[in-house]
């Protein structure tokens, strides 16, 4: 948080100051959930630090909502404990957990005006009138909806409804904010704006711990401090957003977060030098890649993102492979090419093209730097 931006005295900052420090950590301790005999969450251990945004991302049915609802108290874990701050909430009913929750379809109460929706939690908890009035005003200001207090939800657009839903959750000063696919009912354009709004909200309320469930990798990459990737009821990988993107620990993560080319290679030489690059062979080419303890002879995958492959090499691009050009899709800002390298399709998103575009079927060299690569072990499915 940059200091100058915080010296102003507008409502938002006053509000933020009050919330700061309110966040708690959330701890899943070997939490499992089953519906009958169907285990949908295998023992999950995960910690969300105070003030952190954790994005839980994964394909549909991977157990994200289940994990979130376990925190909220709507799903009872078959085993394990859930702690929020110092409190073990596993046996607490939802209304004693002190959370805020925002769901995909907003679920604004249709029979209440915007202000009554926002006031709902405080009224339910028996707060006094003056406090409620003040909090409603603050919360609506935080999401930029002050002018809409007297409207009914049906008189608002989807994006506005979602803001009100967030204000309603913020008004109770939650220890943790739970967001379950909050933007997936919105149009692409509004969704992009809302992602930025939520990012700004978190800058304003840095103490707020957020569990953000989504299946959209862009939302996760934009917002999250850390990402947990879910697959079939398990955490497939968990780590700081940038690290997970740059050094994906497995194929599933590499392919789910952004797009990735994964080339099957054989390691010829283990990590050398301070930067830790290993050398691996792909066909005739010898390539350097960021290592994670591979030994010579290991078969593994070399991960390189489409935007890091270049058709026009320079001295940094010490890795070089040659592929057969299969398809070219020009899209204005970017040109997408598909090549085949040693039987593996390789995608390239190029901003710059050579002066004369190679023909389909011709052999094309591709260049990239070792710093943009990582070696990724093939998934072992259980």
């Amino acid at each position: 948080m940059s200091v100058p931006a915080f010296t102003g005295s507008n409502v938002m900052d006053v509000d933020a100051a009050k919330i700061r420090g309110a966040g708690s950590n959330v701890h899943f301790d070997k939490v499992s959930v089953a519906y009958g005999a169907h285990v949908v969450l295998h023992p999950l251990t995960l910690d969300i630090a105070p003030g952190e945004i954790l994005a839980m991302i994964g394909p549909s049915g991977s157990g994200k909502t289940t994990a979130l609802r376990a925190v909220a108290g709507f799903v009872r874990p078959a085993s394990g404990r859930i702690r929020i701050g110092a409190t073990d909430v596993t046996d607490l009913p939802p209304y004693e957990r002190g959370l805020g929750m925002v769901v995909q379809n907003y679920a604004l109460f249709p029979h209440m005006r915007v202000e009554d929706n926002v006031a709902f939690g405080l009224r339910a908890q028996g707060a006094d009138k003056a406090l409620i009035g003040e909090r409603v005003k603050d919360s609506l200001a935080t999401v930029g909806m002050s002018g809409f207090a007297k409207r009914y939800p049906r008189e608002l657009s989807g994006g506005q409804q979602q803001r009100v839903a967030i204000a309603r959750a913020l008004a109770v000063r939650p220890r943790v904010l739970l967001l379950d696919e909050p933007l997936s009912a919105l149009d692409a354009q509004i969704r992009r704006n809302m992602v930025e709004e939520i990012a700004k909200l978190h800058r304003d309320l840095p103490g707020l711990t957020i569990l953000y469930v989504t299946h959209d990798q862009t939302e996760a990459l934009t917002l999250a401090d850390k990402i947990a990737i879910m697959r079939d009821g398990r955490v497939s990988s968990h780590g700081p957003t940038v690290e997970l993107y740059r050094l994906p620990p497995n194929r599933f993560t590499a392919e789910f977060l952004g797009r990735a080319n994964l080339l099957p290679v054989t390691v010829t030489e283990g990590a050398t030098g301070p930067k830790g690059f290993a050398t691996a062979r792909l066909g005739d080419a010898l390539l350097a890649g960021a290592a994670r303890g591979e030994k010579p002879g290991d078969k593994t995958l070399l991960c390189i993102r489409p935007q890091h492959l270049s058709l026009t090499g320079d001295e940094e691009h010490t890795n070089r492979i040659v592929g057969t050009l299969k398809e070219v899709h020009w899209q204005g800002e970017l040109t997408h090419l598909v090549l085949e390298v040693d039987g593996t399709p390789v995608r390239v998103s190029a901003t710059r093209l050579p002066v004369s575009l190679p023909e389909r079927g011709s052999a094309v060299p591709l260049f990239f730097t070792p710093g943009d690569t990582s070696l990724v072990p093939e998934d072992v499915r259980g």
């Binding site: 209304y95 109460f109 939690g121 339910a124 109770v172």
Partner: protein
Amino acid sequence: MLVWSRPGRIVIWLVFTLLFGVLFLAPLAVILLSSLADQWNGVLPSGLTTEHYSDVVQGAAWKAVKASLVTGFLASAVALVSGTWAALALRIQDATLARVLGVLFFIPSAVPSVSVGLGLLVAFSHPPLLLNGTIAIVMVAHFVLISAFTFGNVSAGLARLSPDFEQVASSLGARPAYRLRHVTLPLLAPYLVAAFGLSFALSMGELGATVMVYPPGWVTLPVSIFSLTDRGDVFAGAALTMVLVAVTLILLLGLERVTGRQARS
């Protein structure tokens, strides 16, 4: 969109008019006409009169209207409370028990009304549960027959209610009673109103159980229509039937307006 040729459509619409006219329109029209008939020996009545209606507002006929309204209102109100209560309480049972109980709450709608009346006579004709001969037994019969209906309507409403509303309310700190009062019941209101109105309408037209159990002083509309027509006083019976139809339609239309307004707000 199925039949494109003009003559084809006209033939089909004629078929429709014939069916609709003979089965639905003619009965209503003829009841209306006969309720206004003075004498009717030929194809059409020989004269018109409002005499049968003025009879309705005095004497025995008016008592029947009152008995039906009171019975309908009380039975529907009790059925609404118990049906809503049951539907809400069933949600917190475990699945198997909820399914079994759900079927049990529906069964009264499947049993012939005459048997319901017979059962009440058999069960409540001796002290300490002596209801036979009282007004209460009529209310009970109507309550039993419409209870499944209100239960079904409210259950359907609950099933359509997105669980998100209640869950968000809980997560914001609303305890069950507060949530019920401020979220669940307001959202269910259209279904409650509809259930009340339709069960009121059903109660107004109930005959089978009532005819088994009614005490001398509490003759409902259908029973008195039956005894009028049985005596050959068909025009008075028709007038009373029109009153019954009118009350039912007013109830249904009024409800539609109420629920329509709520759906919009």
